[in-house]
Point group: C2
Chain length 224, copies 2
Amino acid sequence: MVEIRIAKKLMGANDEIASGVRDLLREKKITAVNVMGSPGSGKTTLLERLVAFSKGRWRVAVIEGDLETSRDAERMDRAGVRAVQVTTGKGCHLHAGMVQDALSALEPDALDLLYIENVGNLVCPSGFDLGEDFRIVVVSVTEGDDKAGKYPPMFARADLLVLNKIDLLPHVDFDVERFETEAQEIQPKVDLFRISCRTGEGVDALAAKVAAAVAGKKGAGPER
Amino acid sequence: MVEIRIAKKLMGANDEIASGVRDLLREKKITAVNVMGSPGSGKTTLLERLVAFSKGRWRVAVIEGDLETSRDAERMDRAGVRAVQVTTGKGCHLHAGMVQDALSALEPDALDLLYIENVGNLVCPSGFDLGEDFRIVVVSVTEGDDKAGKYPPMFARADLLVLNKIDLLPHVDFDVERFETEAQEIQPKVDLFRISCRTGEGVDALAAKVAAAVAGKKGAGPER
């Protein structure tokens, strides 16, 4: 039972830090988006697309979570956006303390929109609040249409569900209806998006959704 | 520090059970293969292919690890092979106790080859010995050629590395050389296989490798 007590204690500590992060984000009117999905589902490419939509309109930064390497942060640098790489070593998810540290390196006074790319993992990240405003879960059509039912905790807490790589649909066996129906059974309020980060198809609808959230949080404040 | 002590204690308990599983497998001359990879990398389809190669030659069973559903075990049933489904709830990997329990349900006296399909996760399963003889790590070409460097613990302990879905290579940006070179930098002894579970290309070479291991472990015992 001691393991369970420890786990609860760790989760409690994370929730407390996440709550502090959320307070800071509210005070600074920053919208934070927690982006999750399997390795290779296309999270980084999606972010490259999304930050291109925000450029010149919002002040954007990205926190990149990976076990090793700073490749994803370098990709964000090349996309012209401020990025902080968090490497977790063997850690299978980000926790709120990592976001807290990264935020202090990112000058929150000069920020409207913060994307947090979690470690590629369809299981563990879902259990850890990072103080985000909402969650995007990314699944690619090459992963199979049975993933929502097999990994329900991730889908149960998704706000926006991105079905990515739809340009590959002619080459794989993937029933879009089956996938989306099952995801909605697990989380009836989830917003569905069908996207190809390769061709750009469908990205504008998702970007518009994010932009509405940013505008909403900034309220009457001036846009940049 | 208490969390670290607990983690070490849990890992120690797993290693002890894994050692017992390994002893049983040696005594019964059963070859066990731990199959790991991201959700949707093609582990179950690979196993459907591999068990087809073994049919009539070896007595085969499969342990299927998933958070929820018994879909994968049902697929194995349809492939005509004995299967035990282990559901982990929120658990992000199999541990040795689960294999121990499943083995007792599988009549180890009537078994030559045991495939263990781990939970779809490129991070956590690598840390847990299940008593297996060797490990197969499955990566699909749609996941991107940068995965070995970004998820090194999994690749550092891989014996056979399967690059799957090579039929999709014309439709994705994936540098096979880059991927394999990086994997070999992390684990120089890894055996590489390029496979399409969809078309069957390359599966025979992998099946031959598994067959050699089974024959080796059975030693002078009669084949069936």
